[in-house]
C-alpha cells in the first residue's frame, strides 16, 4: 500500500516538472492541491444548492475540451488558475486528455507532444499579443499543433480583431468563450473573482464588470428561476438592474419554467458603504484574511506552528514551505468558528477539544465487538476532526500573537474612535506617529480614508496635511493614488454641508456599546461594536422595510429603487408555514468576510425570517480594497 502511494506521488511530481525551463513555476498548484471530488460537497450544504451552478460550469468546460479532439496542453492566463480551481480539479482536465499545463508568457511555447494547444485567457489586449507571439514563434518543423483560444468569462470582438491584425486568427481552430461569471465559492457564497471591479466602475467609468454581473445574474435566474423582487442602492446597482430588466425583455419567450428559489435580490454598491471594508475585521475568518489574506479559498500560513511532532521522532527540522490550508464550510470545525468574533474562538476551540478527546476516550467503554466496530468506523472522521482542531488551534495562536500586540490595539482604538465620531475633524496623532515611523502605506491610507468617511470629508487643512505627510514620507509617486482615492470618494474635502455621518450612525444603530462577542445578539459583534452599514441596510430591508429609513437612504450616495419581475403564472411560490424567504445580496465592488459573517448571523437568527445568499464581484478586505485603487508607479532606475 505504501509503495503504491509513493508511486502516485512521484507521478504527480513528474507532472509538476513538465516545464523544461525550470525557472518557470508550474501553474498546476491550484488544481493539484484540491482534494479530489469531495471538494464540491460544501456547495450543497446551504439553503440553495449552488452545486447546480458549479455542475453547469463543469459541463460547459467538458464540452469545450471535447471539441478539441486529442491530447491537449492548456496555456493559462495565470490570473484564471485560482478561480478555475473552484470549478474543476486537474482530474477533470486529465479525463479530457489535458496532459500539460503552462503559464502564458511571450516567446516560444515549451515543447509538448500534444495535438492541441488551448489558451485560457481573459479578453485583454495585452494577452492577445502574447498569444500571437506564441503562435507565430511555433516551430514550423515540428508536427503542427492545433491552437484554440477560450475566452473567460466572455469573448471579445476587440480581442479577436487584435488577433486578426496580428495575423493569427486564421490559425486558431476554435475561438470560444467560457462564461464563468459567478463562481460558487461556498454553500452560500458566489464570487466573480474580479478584483478590479470597483476601480473600473468608480475610477475608470468602465462598466464591463457590471455587464458581466447582469449576465451572471441572468444565468443564475436561468438555473434558479426568475427573482421576483429586486431592490438596490447605488448607481451601479441601478445600472445592473436596468440591464437585467432589458436582458429579460430581450430573452422574452425563452423563459425558464422554474419555481423561483430566490425571493429577493438586493444589489448594493460598495460606495454606499465605504466605511465597512476599511475597518479591521474581528471575526476569525476576517482576521485570517486581514493578516494572511485568503486567495480563492486558500490561505498560506507561516509554517512554524504547524510542525508535526510525532512521538519517538524527536525534534524534526522545521518546515520552510508555507502551510497551505483550504478554508470552506466542508470543514465542520471551520464552519462553526469562522464567523465568530475572534474573542469567542478560544472558548469554542477548547470546547471542541474536550468533545474530541471524550470521543477518543469512548474506546475504553467499547466492550462488545459491535461497539468496537462502531468506534473504528468513526475513527477517520474523528481523526479528521482532530487534525482540523490542531490546525485551527495553531492558526488561532498565530492570530492571537498579533491581536494582543500594542500596535494592533492602538490601531483598533483609533478605528473605533473614528467610528464613534471622536475627534474626526482634526489631524490624528496616531496617524501622524505611524507616518513618522513609516508604517506600511496601506495602513495609513486605510486610517486616513476611514477618518474622512466618518467625518463626511476632511477639512482642507487636515486633508492637505495628511497628503503632504504621505508624499514626503512615501514618495511623490503616490500623488496619483491619492487622486484615485479622492475620485472614488474615499478621501474628500469637507464641503459646506454638515457631517451627516453621526445621523446615519444613530439612525442605523451602527455603533453598539454593549456588543456581545461571545453570544452575539446583533451583527455589531463582527467588528466588536460597529455594525456594518451594508448589512444593516440589508437587515432593515427585510424588516421593517426601507420606507422607515428614507431619510438616511437619501444621505447615502446613489439612488435606491425597487423593481418587480413578472413571473409566469403558476410559478408563484406558496410559502410553507415558517419557511424563510431567501434573499440574494449582491455586493457590487466587493464584500468582506465580516460582512458575510454578519449576514450568516442574520440567516441563523431564529425569528429572522430571511436567509441570505451572498454574491460579490470579489472578496475584499481593507488592504486589498485600497491596493486595487492604488496607482503603481515605479521610480525609474
Amino acid at each position: 500500500m505504501k509503495r503504491r502511494l509513493a508511486q502516485y506521488s512521484t507521478r504527480t511530481h513528474d507532472f509538476e516538472k513538465h516545464d523544461h525551463r525550470s525557472r518557470d513555476p508550474p501553474v498546476c498548484h491550484m488544481i493539484l492541491v484540491s482534494e479530489g471530488r469531495k471538494m464540491a460537497a460544501h456547495l450543497s450544504y446551504g439553503r440553495v444548492n449552488l452545486n447546480i451552478l458549479r455542475e453547469a460550469a463543469r459541463k460547459e468546460l467538458r464540452e469545450f475540451l471535447d471539441k478539441c479532439a486529442g491530447s491537449k496542453a492548456i496555456v493559462w492566463d495565470e490570473y484564471l488558475t485560482g478561480p478555475f480551481g473552484l470549478i474543476a480539479q486537474y482530474s477533470l482536465l486529465k479525463e479530457h486528455e489535458v496532459e500539460k499545463m503552462f503559464t502564458l508568457k511571450p516567446g516560444r511555447l515549451p515543447a509538448a507532444d500534444v495535438k492541441n494547444i488551448i489558451f485560457f485567457v481573459r479578453p485583454k489586449l495585452e494577452l492577445m499579443d502574447i498569444i500571437a507571439d506564441n503562435v507565430a514563434s511555433e516551430d514550423k518543423l515540428r508536427t503542427p499543433r492545433d491552437f484554440h483560444v477560450l475566452f473567460v468569462p466572455r469573448r471579445s470582438l476587440l480581442c479577436e480583431q487584435r488577433l486578426k491584425e496580428k495575423g493569427v486568427l486564421g490559425s486558431l481552430i476554435n475561438v470560444d468563450e467560457y462564461i464563468l461569471d459567478l463562481i460558487p465559492y461556498d454553500g452560500d457564497l458566489l464570487s466573480m473573482e474580479s478584483e478590479s471591479a470597483f476601480r473600473e466602475c468608480y475610477l475608470e467609468n468602465d462598466q464591463t464588470s457590471l455587464y458581466h454581473t447582469a449576465k451572471g445574474l441572468m444565468t443564475l435566474q436561468a438555473l434558479y428561476g426568475t427573482i421576483p423582487q429586486i431592490f438596490g442602492k447605488g448607481e451601479c446597482a441601478r445600472h445592473v438592474a436596468n440591464m437585467m430588466l432589458r436582458m429579460k425583455r430581450e430573452f422574452a419567450g425563452c423563459q425558464t419554467q422554474i419555481l423561483p428559489v430566490f425571493d429577493t435580490l438586493l444589489l448594493l454598491d460598495r460606495n454606499v458603504d465605504l466605511l465597512t471594508p476599511l475597518a479591521t475585521q474581528l471575526t476569525y475568518e476576517g482576521l485570517i484574511d486581514e493578516i494572511y489574506s485568503i486567495n480563492n479559498g486558500y490561505v498560506k500560513l507561516p509554517p512554524e506552528k504547524f510542525a508535526q511532532k510525532k512521538q519517538g521522532e524527536g525534534e524534526k527540522d522545521l518546515p520552510t514551505e508555507p502551510k497551505k490550508l483550504q478554508l470552506n464550510s466542508a470543514e465542520e470545525l471551520y464552519a462553526e468558528i469562522r464567523d465568530k468574533n475572534f474573542n469567542a474562538v478560544g472558548a469554542a476551540l477548547s470546547k471542541k477539544a474536550k468533545i474530541i478527546s471524550a470521543a477518543f476516550e469512548e474506546r475504553h467503554n467499547a466492550k462488545t465487538v459491535g461497539e468496537i466496530k462502531q468506534f473504528v468506523s468513526q475513527l477517520p472522521h474523528m481523526q479528521a476532526a482532530r487534525t482540523s482542531l490542531a490546525n485551527h488551534t495553531s492558526v488561532a495562536e498565530l492570530i492571537k500573537d498579533i491581536t494582543t500586540s500594542d500596535a494592533f490595539f492602538d490601531n483598533l482604538t483609533v478605528e473605533q474612535e473614528f467610528m464613534t465620531g471622536v475627534d474626526t475633524d482634526k489631524a490624528n496623532t496616531y496617524i501622524e506617529d505611524c507616518i513618522a515611523r513609516k508604517d506600511p502605506l496601506i495602513k495609513i491610507l486605510r486610517l486616513v480614508c476611514m477618518q474622512s468617511v466618518c467625518n463626511n470629508g476632511l477639512k482642507q487643512k487636515v486633508l492637505d496635511f495628511y497628503k503632504r505627510e504621505i508624499l514626503q514620507t512615501y514618495g511623490f509617486q503616490h500623488i496619483l493614488t491619492l487622486n484615485n482615492l479622492e475620485k472614488a470618494g474615499l478621501l474628500k474635502l469637507q464641503t459646506a454641508t454638515r457631517n451627516n455621518y453621526p445621523t446615519i450612525r444613530k439612525t442605523l444603530k451602527l455603533w453598539m456599546e454593549d456588543a456581545n462577542e461571545q453570544n452575539p445578539n446583533d451583527i455589531s459583534y463582527v467588528y466588536s461594536g460597529y455594525a456594518p452599514l451594508s448589512v444593516r441596510l440589508t437587515q432593515l430591508l427585510a424588516r421593517p422595510g426601507w420606507r422607515s429609513i428614507e431619510e438616511v437612504l437619501k444621505m447615502l450616495p446613489g439612488p435606491h429603487f425597487e423593481e418587480r419581475q413578472q413571473l409566469p403564472s403558476g410559478l408563484h411560490k406558496k410559502r410553507q408555514q415558517g419557511e424563510n424567504r431567501i434573499t440574494l445580496v449582491f455586493f457590487l465592488g466587493g464584500v468582506t468576510y465580516a460582512e458575510i459573517a454578519a449576514l450568516r448571523f442574520l440567516s441563523q437568527m431564529e425569528d429572522g425570517g430571511t436567509e441570505y445568499v451572498i454574491a460579490t464581484t470579489k472578496l475584499i478586505n481593507g488592504t486589498s480594497f485600497i491596493k486595487s485603487l492604488m496607482e503603481r508607479l515605479e521610480v525609474p532606475p
Binding site: R155, Q207, M243, C254, K467, T473, F476, L633
Partner: protein
C-alpha cells in the same frame, strides 16, 4: 371467421398470395421461405397534366416527400425552341414554370433546404428556389467549360448537399457541401478511356468517395487514391457491372450485372447479404434500395421500363407491372414511384401491421381490434375477445401494437380505427403509460395535415421523426405555407422562440422583398403581425430588407428590435455609425461599444471622431482606457480637447515615471505643475513643485557627495543623510520642506539608533523638549538591544507613560512603584500581567494590596 374481413378493405396488403392476383402484381413465391412482403400505397393521383407522361423529360424529386422538378424537352427540335422547367409538389400541384434559357442541363437535383440545382454542361450550377426564382450560381471548375460535364450526381451527406461530376477528361470532381464550396479533383482512374458503366457517390467514415465500375472492374476513388476492389463472394460468372445503387444511409450497396445478377452487401463490399438472379439481361432503367431501418429484410427495387421487381436475400421476388413510365425516389424507409398519373409508395410491410391484419391472426393487437369492432356493434363478443387477450396477459402489448400500427398507416380512417381500438383497450389497463398513444395521435395529426393534397408532403412517420419537426416547419416555410406552419407550432406547443417566432420571421423576410409596397406599409404590417412575439429577431428581418436595397425600411424595422446589441452590426453595415454607437451603449455590452468605437476611429477623421465620443461619455471613458494601455499620445489629445487639466497633470506625472533621464523627467513634472495650476489644484501643483526641488537637491547631492538618492522620498533622503552623517544638509532639507517637528524627531531618533550613535542621541534629546515625548527614546534603544541607554530616558518620560517605560527596560519594581503611586487600576493590571508569581512575589503582593484598597475607596 367472417367477422375478420377487414383485411379486404386493407387492400394493399400483399398477403396471402391468393389475394395478390386480384391486385395486379404477380408474386412468385419460392419454397415457402421467410416472409418477404411489401405493399404499394397510392399517395396521390397527380394533379399535373402531362401530355406525354414522363417521356422526353428530365425529372428530379427531392427525398422526404419533397418537390419535383421537370425539364421538358421542346416538342419541336428547332434551334430556337427552348426546354420548359416546371416545379411541382409531390401531389403534382404546379409551383413554378418557366422557359429554360440557359445552357444544356445535364442533371437536376434538390438541396436539403429545397433549392433546385441545375448542373449545366459547362460546369455551371444554377440555384433556384422552390418558386423558380434564381438565387445564385457557381462553377464546378473552369476546366469543365472545355471538357464539359458528361454526367453529374447530386447527393446528400451529413455535411449537406453535394455534387459530383464526371468531366470529359474522365475525371471526377466533387463538392461535398454546396453551401461551402471546396472543389476536389479526385485522382485519375488508371486506364479509364470512356464513361464508366456505372458510378455512385458514397459517404463513408466522414469521407466522400466515388465507386465506379468499368466492365467487370470496380474502383473506389477517395481523396488520395484509386483503389480496385472486389465485392466479397461475387459470383465468378458475373461479368460487367451495369448498375449500382447505394442505400439511403450509404451503408449498403447493390450491383447489377449484365448476367442479370444482383449482388447486395455492405458498402465497403466486405460483407455480402445475398446474390439474386433476376433472369433479366436487359439493363434496368433504375435501381434503388427499399429497406426500413432495423428491419431484417433488405431489398432492392429494380425497374425496367414498365416492369418492377423487388428482390432480397430470401430469393423471393415480387413483380409489379407499371401502367406508365415511372421514376423511383429512394427514401429512408421506402421507395416512391412517380409516374405521369400516379404517385405511389412501396414499402416493406411493418411487422406489427402484418400481425394485426394477417388473416386469422391471434396476435393481441388483432384480437383487440376485433374486440373493439364488436364493442361498437354492441355485441358481447367484445368481452370474449378481451378475455382472450387478458388470458394471454397481452392487453398492454395489444394496445402498443395498435398504436404502433396506426403510425404506419396513411389512410386517416385506418389510423382512427386502430387508435380507437387502442384507446378502448387502454380503459382496461391501469398504469398504462399514455405517452406513446398521445404522441402518435399528435404526430399523425401533423402528418395528415402535410400529406394533404394541397400541401403535398407525403411523409411517413419514420421519415418525419428522422427529419424532426423543426425541419418540417422549415419546409413549410420554404413553401410559404405560413399559417399551416404556425398552426403546427401551436398545436405541438413548440416554444415560441423555436416555433412561431421563426415562422413569423420568415414571413416577414418574405414580406420585405415585396417591392411594390411602401416602406411604411410593410413596417407597419410586420410590426402589427409580429408585435411582441417572443424571440423575434427584427435585426434579421432588417438585414434582409437591407440586402434587398431597402435601407430605410431596414432602419424602421430595426427600431422594433429589443436587443440593442443585435442592431449594431447591421447599423454599422448601413453606415449609421452614430446610431450604432448609442445602441451599443444601450446594450451595456462594453465589448460591443469598443467594436463600434474602433470602427468609428477608422471611419472618421480625428476631429469628428473625438466630437462623437464627447457626446457619449461611456464610450469616451472606454476609449480612454483603451488608449491608456495602447495609445498614450491619443490619450493626451483627448484630455487636451476636453481641457481636462487635472488629468493632463496626472498624465505628465505618469509620463515622468516612464523617463529614465532626469532632465526629461523634470520637464514632464514642469508640464504637470503647469496643468495642475490651470486645474486650480494648488495642492498638487505645490507638491509637484516640491518634488522638482527635491530632485534638484538630490542631483546636487549626488554630484557633490556621491550619494545616490535621486528618486527617493523626502523621508528616505533625510534618513540617508542622517545615516551618512550629513547633518547639516539634513537640517537644511528639514527646514526647506517644512517637515513637521514630530516626524523629524522620529526620523532622527531612528537613524541615530540604527547607527548606534548613542552619544549623538543623548545630545539630540537635550536640544529642546522632545515633541514626541521620551517613551520613543526608550523604545528605540530597547529595539536596538541597549537597555543601558534606554534607562537614561526613563526619568524624562511623562507620568502617563512611565509605567510602560519601566516595563520596557525590565524594571518591574519601578513600574510597580509608579503604578501604585498613581493608583491606576489599568496600570496595575498591566504590571501584574508582566509579573511571574515565583520571582516577583513581593511586587505582586504589593500591587494586589493597593488594588484592594483602591477598590474599597
Amino acid at each position: 371467421m367472417s367477422c375478420r374481413s377487414y383485411a379486404s378493405y386493407y387492400h394493399y396488403y400483399l398477403r396471402p398470395v391468393a389475394m395478390l392476383s386480384e391486385l395486379g402484381p404477380d408474386s412468385r413465391s419460392h419454397d415457402g421461405c421467410v416472409f418477404f412482403s411489401h405493399r404499394k400505397i397510392e399517395l396521390y393521383e397527380m394533379g399535373w397534366n402531362l401530355k406525354e407522361g414522363l417521356r422526353n423529360c428530365q425529372i428530379a424529386a427531392a427525398p422526404y416527400g419533397g418537390p419535383i422538378a421537370l425539364l421538358k424537352e421542346p416538342q419541336r427540335s428547332s434551334p430556337s425552341a427552348r426546354p420548359q422547367l416546371e416545379i411541382y409538389t409531390s401531389s403534382g400541384s404546379p409551383m413554378a414554370s418557366f422557359m429554360w434559357k440557359s445552357g444544356v442541363v445535364k442533371q437536376l437535383g434538390w438541396t436539403i433546404s429545397d433549392d433546385l440545382l441545375c448542373v449545366q454542361e459547362d460546369g455551371t450550377v444554377l440555384v433556384y428556389d422552390l418558386f423558380g426564382s434564381f438565387k445564385r450560381h457557381f462553377s464546378m471548375g473552369n476546366e469543365l467549360v472545355q471538357s464539359h460535364v458528361l454526367e453529374a450526381k447530386i447527393f446528400h451527406s451529413p455535411y449537406g448537399t453535394g455534387i459530383a461530376v464526371l468531366s470529359g477528361a474522365y475525371r471526377f470532381i466533387l463538392a461535398t457541401n454546396i453551401e461551402d464550396i471546396k472543389l476536389r479533383r479526385l485522382p485519375e482512374v488508371p486506364g479509364l478511356q470512356g464513361v464508366p458503366s456505372c458510378w455512385t457517390v458514397l459517404s463513408q467514415d466522414r469521407q466522400t468517395k466515388v465507386l465506379l465500375a468499368t466492365g467487370a472492374d470496380l474502383y473506389i476513388l477517395d481523396n488520395t487514391a484509386c483503389t480496385p476492389v472486389s465485392p466479397s463472394g461475387f459470383s465468378p460468372q458475373a461479368t460487367n457491372i451495369i448498375q449500382v445503387a447505394g442505400s439511403f444511409s450509404y451503408k449498403y450497396l447493390a450491383l447489377f450485372t449484365d448476367s442479370g445478377h444482383v449482388w447486395m452487401g455492405s458498402a465497403n463490399l466486405k460483407e455480402k447479404l445475398c446474390e439474386v438472379d433476376t433472369k433479366m439481361r436487359t439493363p434496368p432503367t433504375q435501381m434503388a434500395w427499399c429497406w426500413r431501418p432495423k428491419s431484417q429484410q433488405p431489398s432492392v427495387v429494380i425497374m425496367w421500363e414498365k416492369y418492377l421487381l423487388v428482390v432480397g436475400p430470401c430469393k423471393d421476388t415480387i413483380q409489379y407491372n407499371l401502367d406508365n413510365e415511372s421514376v423511383l425516389v429512394p427514401e429512408l424507409d421506402s421507395v416512391r414511384i412517380i409516374s405521369g398519373t400516379h404517385h405511389e409508395l412501396l414499402q416493406e410491410v411493418p411487422v406489427v401491421s402484418e400481425e394485426i391484419f394477417k388473416i386469422a391472426s391471434m396476435a393481441p393487437g388483432a384480437l383487440l381490434l376485433e374486440a373493439h369492432k364488436e364493442y361498437e356493434k354492441e355485441s358481447q363478443k367484445a368481452d370474449e375477445y378481451l378475455r382472450e387477450i387478458k388470458e394471454q396477459d397481452g392487453l398492454g402489448e395489444a394496445v402498443k401494437q395498435c398504436v404502433e400500427a396506426a403510425g404506419y398507416e396513411h389512410e386517416p380512417e385506418t389510423q382512427k380505427m386502430l387508435l380507437r381500438a387502442a384507446s378502448f383497450g387502454k380503459c382496461f389497463l391501469s398504469n398504462f403509460r399514455p405517452e406513446q398513444f398521445v404522441s402518435t395521435c399528435r404526430d399523425l395529426r401533423v402528418l395528415n395535415a402535410v400529406r394533404d393534397y394541397t400541401v403535398g408532403i407525403p411523409l411517413t412517420l419514420q421519415q418525419y421523426k428522422q427529419m424532426t419537426v423543426q425541419v418540417l416547419i422549415d419546409r413549410l416555410v420554404y413553401r410559404k405555407l405560413y399559417p399551416l406552419a404556425i398552426e403546427i407550432c401551436r398545436y405541438l406547443k413548440i416554444p415560441e422562440y423555436q416555433g412561431v417566432s421563426r415562422v413569423l420571421k420568415h414571413w416577414a423576410c418574405c414580406k420585405v422583398q415585396q417591392k411594390e409596397e411602401a416602406d411604411e406599409v410593410i413596417a407597419r404590417m410586420v410590426s402589427l403581425k409580429l408585435g411582441e412575439t417572443a424571440g423575434i429577431s427584427y435585426s434579421d428581418i432588417a438585414a434582409r430588407a437591407y440586402e434587398c436595397g431597402r435601407t430605410e425600411l431596414a432602419i424602421k424595422l430595426l427600431e422594433f428590435e429589443p436587443r440593442s446589441g443585435e442592431q449594431v452590426p447591421l447599423l454599422l453595415k448601413m453606415k449609421r455609425s452614430q446610431l450604432a454607437l448609442s445602441k451599443a451603449i444601450e446594450s451595456g455590452d462594453t465589448d460591443l461599444v469598443y467594436t463600434v468605437v474602433t470602427y468609428l476611429k477608422n471611419e472618421m477623421n480625428r476631429g469628428d471622431f473625438f466630437m462623437t465620443l464627447r457626446n457619449q461619455p461611456i464610450a469616451l471613458s472606454l476609449y480612454r482606457q483603451f488608449c491608456k494601455h495602447q495609445e498614450q499620445d491619443t490619450l493626451k489629445d483627448l484630455y487636451n480637447q476636453d481641457d481636462d487639466h487635472q488629468e493632463l497633470g496626472n498624465f505628465y506625472v505618469r509620463a515622468s515615471y516612464q523617463e529614465g533621464r532626469l532632465d526629461t523627467r523634470m520637464s514632464c513634472l514642469q508640464n504637470a505643475m503647469d496643468e495642475y495650476n490651470k486645474a486650480k489644484n494648488e495642492f498638487n501643483a505645490k507638491a509637484t513643485e516640491e518634488e522638482m526641488r527635491l530632485l534638484r537637491f538630490q542631483r546636487r547631492l549626488e554630484e557633490e557627495k556621491g550619494e545616490r538618492m535621486v528618486g527617493c522620498s523626502l523621508q528616505d533622503t533625510l534618513h540617508c543623510l542622517l545615516i551618512v552623517g550629513l547633518h547639516k544638509q539634513a537640517e537644511q532639507l528639514y527646514k526647506d520642506f517644512r517637515v513637521p517637528d514630530k516626524r523629524y524627531w522620529w526620523l532622527k531618533l531612528n537613524a541615530l539608533a540604527e547607527k548606534e550613535d548613542w552619544e549623538e542621541m543623548e545630545k539630540f534629546s537635550k536640544t529642546k523638549k522632545s515633541p514626541i515625548g521620551y517613551l520613543p527614546f526608550v523604545d528605540v534603544c530597547i529595539k536596538h538591544h541597549n537597555k543601558y541607554e534606554a534607562r537614561k530616558y526613563v526619568s524624562k518620560v511623562t507620568p502617563e507613560q512611565k509605567v510602560k517605560a519601566h516595563i520596557a527596560v525590565g524594571d518591574l519594581e519601578g513600574a510597580a512603584e509608579v503604578a501604585i503611586e498613581r493608583r491606576n487600576e489599568g496600570e496595575i493590571s498591566l504590571v501584574l500581567s508582566h509579573c511571574t508569581a515565583t520571582t516577583d512575589r513581593t511586587i505582586v503582593d504589593r500591587l494586589n494590596r493597593t488594588r484592594a484598597t483602591a477598590g474599597k475607596k
